[in-house]
Amino acid sequence: MGEDDAMYTVLLPTYNERENLPIIVWLLVKYFTDAKVEFEIIVIDDGSPDGTLEAAEQLQRIYGEERIVLRPRAKKLGLGTAYIHGLKHARGQFIIIMDADLSHHPKFIPRMIALQQRDNLDIVTGTRYSGDGGVSGWDLRRKLISRGANYLTQVLLQPGASDVTGSFRLYRRDVLRRLVDSCVSKGYVFQMEMIVRATRLGYRIGEVPISFVDRVYGESKLGGSEIVNFTKGLLYLFATT
């Protein structure tokens, strides 16, 4: 397959991540270098007022323009379009999407790559819900909502993955392109739509247990509107896939 020398592109959509960006980039560089894997990091900043873009420019000077690619946008335009925007310039045959706020640790990426290569997969998704996977910083209420919503999704959609709303994944580039084009949802319902449609299209999906650390330096939220959005997304996919 010649995938041993494949290149990997990390898409990092950011909004007010000035504090976190240097840490996440440093960790990414460390783990990719240790694994002897070719990579680039595309930072898609949506006009953060806190100077995330300036921080990214500094990182570009440190690590080089080959490694850190800047694709800023003028304002917040949503996750799906951020991926489309980043994909236009991605050079890697494989794309890794993750949060830039340090909820996802780059140490799991080499495991995702290894699993993809071993089983020749189209998608490897990080999962909080199986094996050694888990969360940090969630109270009982949040765990209950999360598990309940996940169970309901498994029953109603049979999504073919244990963590449907997770946003730490590795995609074959062409697969991600096709999926992004066919998905219409917003926010983390978007992640759910991506994986459900991938399963329906017959793509091969694998899972790596990950730990999800909830917003070490930020604040987390799970309000009523998020639950409404999730329910809408669930029903939409239930009726259309």
């Binding site: 969360v135 940090s136 598990r147 959609l157 009726a239």
Partner: protein, 77 residues
Amino acid sequence: MTMLMRWLFLAAVILGPWMAVLTNRYQSPWVDQNRHTLLLYPFALIAAFGVYSVCVIAWRVYSFNDCQEAADELQKA
């Protein structure tokens, strides 16, 4: 076939015969003997599924890993 269609199909398979018994369109000595049980059976299925679901969710909430060491690891980084 969408998931909605699958569930409607399943509901039709279960509720079709049940409606036939309920409305007396299908009659047999066996049905007459077991009428009471037969009329309860969709509700029993739903209740059993509900109990199963609550147990599964409760177990999964209980066994949800707390990754404190992962948080500590990031704080150090």
